[in-house]
Symmetry: none
Subunit: 533 residues, 2 copies
């Protein structure tokens, strides 16, 4: 274990903003910068002053950071201009950042091909720009664009670019694998060669995931001696993304023993930080993400099920609580009592079934799984199944009948349209309700009619909605005919998201079962009173 | 560049089946095994005979593979039993696989802690089981579970396990990083030590992505000399997944120069294969996946926008067409004529549109993609779109109206049932048809009513059926409201399987569109005569 200090540089708000489908507001940027600061990141790159109004606004009124240094990003001056008079550099030079990070080319082929200037002018562009920046802020850095490709083409020129930046006072020289095509063994070899001239305490690494090696490339550079690591939250970034700081951080600290600005408490908030970040961007968190994914420490009932139950540590490369994650032994008829209790514990279910109830629950799970039910993606239905076996779920309502009609016809404007409409008859205690509603399909219409019928008695149902609907046709073990499994995801105004499942030979019937569970779970969580009958 | 031959081993159907939320049907398994074979994978692990009914069914009637060897997976015998009399080994020994792959422990701590047996008995378990397997099939392998952890604890014992397997005739010894916690530099060091005793031509590598290093760990082992690489399609697998063969393959072939069973033509089908696989599992393909993601070669208007326009190669680490990807999406308005022709070629479509038709086809695709259509998982609809633009699809029938009713009520026996029924009115030429049918849901009922109405004119429709139905809710670029995308898979008695897609704000409408395409495609393939009108 190393014990040496590494500096972490986050570029989520600049390179991460290049992700397709991601569009930060100024409020997002402020909040994310504060979260990164609270985590213990050393450098937070806020954006590119002058590039767009959001970044201009951000640097005009930057967040107060507790200890992270705020970095403004930009490009070295154009050819044939002085740095002080370059209009693209001006917004950087007058920004309120602590650090200016300037990117410049280091590949001679690109200097000539893309910029159309000679090598000497490129060196002057780097030196002049960093000297000018160094006169305005206490710390500057140089991002060496396409460094590894440049080195392979002409190592002497690439090195001359780095040295020009060092001589102009850059605190850090960051080696960038801009197009993401360099492999770990090449990174290792080239960094070692660079370190014959420049000490690792002045070098940083910036990688992209185009070959799925961004994390390994960063680790390789660190092992070779580089002391600054750049990356983004959840690996955001252009094309395939940047190096994922959320994966790198635990590996560097827990497995390789480096010191960073992030303490043990910060690491324990990592899972929450990663998922909150996705929620902010309206992205579904990746279940399979290293360290922080919901499945990262989950075991399906296969090869390892009983061995995991016996000694989980054998199948877990770290204690999940160190990064704020938890074990999740999946529900299955094969899993047995200890898994069942472990699962309750994880779900925060304060339930201790006696031996007889445990048998009943396991039998119910097994019987349902044989008919095609699956609880992996439907923990709310799982909770209801358990509570029902233990006698703790009231019948909030009783369905008497429903009918859904889908019709393709002409509307008043003579357009051909398809409409879905559902009627529902149900009883809440002694009261009967009969409602009708439309929807974008029979299940959606049923959902609307159902909640309309129930809303008088249970007003909180007005604050929930169906957010996803998945269908799978399968042939279960028991029975020869195909059945349909429907999984419904619901959400409410309080930020809860829950999944329920239904299985039947009829897809509408399966959907109704999942809807019924979704509504029942919501009423249970809200502590709704059961009707007197 | 190396030029040496590597062997690829796919475990999608076994270790990949451990992915949370993934549930292969037997039909899925057959299709995926054939796709892997067509790609040029050397070994296809089909599952674990005896573990569950799907795997039993698969091995009872295994797919005919062109050149890949089919592997059956299982565990070495239990302690205190003979291999020939171990009930868990029996289904493997009598399966129709070409290869038997047996997993066994190599960590002394786990042998004692989890199995409760001594080291010598573990060595005997490995040797006996592989000898017994070797008497039944021409080739056997040993998966060394937790090998890297075992090596760190007691290298001599771990090595003794490998040697026991070799002595018992195993063709390959596969070093498994079972809990995914080993880092690339450790893999490199340990593989080099193992290779002092066992040549790389007998060694394989099996890694997991728990630190986001599965790809790098595999590459490191290959560089150290290992000649078999295991992985899964799209990195499927328990927890954070297995090593992603879709990322590994282009790196090994295009960047490191290894020979594999996959030729240049196979590599060009990689993007399509990866996305089709996700569609089959009803998963959204990862836009940011290395090599094959829709964004893998896409550039947002940022730092590089104008430079990319000037010289794209600087910002692309490989030519995207080598893996069947494109600077923009595969089937896309911007992809241009050559991509379109390549796509036809792949699909076996003997079509050569003129310049004007090409423009019309590209415009139609672009317009539909903006509204949420996707053709990667629906090639029959893609073919129809192209043929329609070229004027080659007759209107076999004209729908006038339909109505579908789903009702939950009591049947004659007093049981509560849900019934779906559809009526349809349509015209074939001058003849009108009005039919009604039941189904296991509104779409199934519509399908029955539709084919009943058409069967007089087109008797071949009696030999097709709807075999799968997938629904995804999405919010497309154009428009603010969510739409539903339905993909229907159909099959006929002649072994054809085809996929069609529909998109609409109403799920039944989207389903009807996909049904209409499914029937039209079948009639087109059968060469049905269009009605005279």
């Amino acid at each position: 274990m190393s014990g040496e200090r590494l500096w972490l540089y986050d570029t989520t708000l600049r390179d991460g903003a290049q992700t397709q489908g991601v569009d930060f507001s100024q409020a997002d940027k402020l909040r994310i910068a504060r979260d990164l600061d609270a985590l213990g990141i050393d450098y937070v790159e806020g954006g590119w002053p002058g590039a767009n109004p959001t970044d201009d606004g951000f640097f005009a009124d930057p967040p107060e950071l507790r200890r992270a240094r705020l970095c403004a990003f930009g490009m070295t001056r154009r050819a044939g201009r002085s740095a002080a008079n370059d209009p693209a550099l001006a917004p950087l030079l007058r920004s309120k950042a602590d650090v200016i990070t300037l990117v410049g080319k280091t590949s001679l082929r690109q200097v000539k091909g893309a910029l159309g200037v000679e090598g000497d002018e490129n060196l002057a562009m780097i030196g002049d720009s960093l000297r000018e920046a160094g006169a305005r802020v206490p710390e500057t850095m140089f991002d060496a664009e396409h460094f590894f490709d440049g080195w392979k083409e002409d190592a002497a020129f690439a090195l001359a670019c780095l040295e020009a930046a060092l001589e102009a006072g850059a605190r850090w020289i960051v080696l960038c694998d801009t197009n993401g095509g360099t492999l770990p063994h090449e990174i290792g070899r080239i960094v070692e060669e660079v370190m014959r001239k420049i000490p690792g305490e002045r070098l940083g690494i910036h990688t992209h995931d185009d070959t799925e090696n961004a994390v390994a490339n960063s680790l390789t550079a660190v092992r070779a001696g580089v002391r600054q690591v750049q990356g983004t939250l959840n690996g955001l970034g252009e094309r395939c993304g940047n190096a994922n700081l959320v994966s790198l951080l635990p590996t560097l600290v827990l497995k390789m023993g480096y010191e960073t600005g992030v303490d043990a408490e910060g690491l324990r908030r990592l899972t929450h930080l990663s998922r909150t970040f996705d929620e902010r961007l309206n992205r579904t968190p990746d279940r399979h993400a290293a360290y922080v994914g919901a499945s990262a420490f989950a075991h399906k009932a296969g090869l390892h099920a009983s061995a995991v139950a016996k000694s989980p540590a054998f199948y877990e490369h770290i204690d999940p609580s160190l990064v704020g994650n938890a074990r999740d032994v999946l529900v299955s008829g094969q899993a047995g009592r200890s898994n069942l209790l472990a699962r309750f514990d994880e779900m925060g279910l304060d339930l201790v079934p006696d031996a007889e109830q445990t048998q009943a629950i396991l039998a119910a799970i097994k019987e349902r799984e044989a008919r095609g039910w699956a609880y992996d993606g439907a923990s709310a239905s799982f909770e209801l199944l358990v509570r029902r076996e233990m006698g703790g779920v009231p019948d909030y309502f009783a369905l008497m009948s429903f009918r859904a009609i889908d019709e393709r016809r002409f509307n008043a404007k003579g357009e051909r349209v398809t409409l879905s409409e559902a009627t529902i008859k149900l009883a809440v205690g002694k009261e009967h309700f009969f409602t009708v509603a439309e929807g974008n399909g029979p299940v959606n219409a049923l959902d609307h009619a159902l909640r309309q019928a129930l809303s008088t008695t249970y007003p909180s149902l007005g604050h929930m909605q169906l957010v996803d609907y998945k269908v799978r046709i399968l042939t279960p073990e028991a029975g020869t005919a195909a059945v349909t499994r429907v999984i419904i995801e619901s959400a409410d105004d309080e930020g809860r998201v829950w999944q329920t499942v239904g299985v039947s030979g009829n897809i509408i019937d399966a959907s109704y079962m999942a809807l019924h569970d979704a509504i029942t779970w919501k009423l249970l969580v809200d502590g709704a009173a059961a009707p007197s009958s």
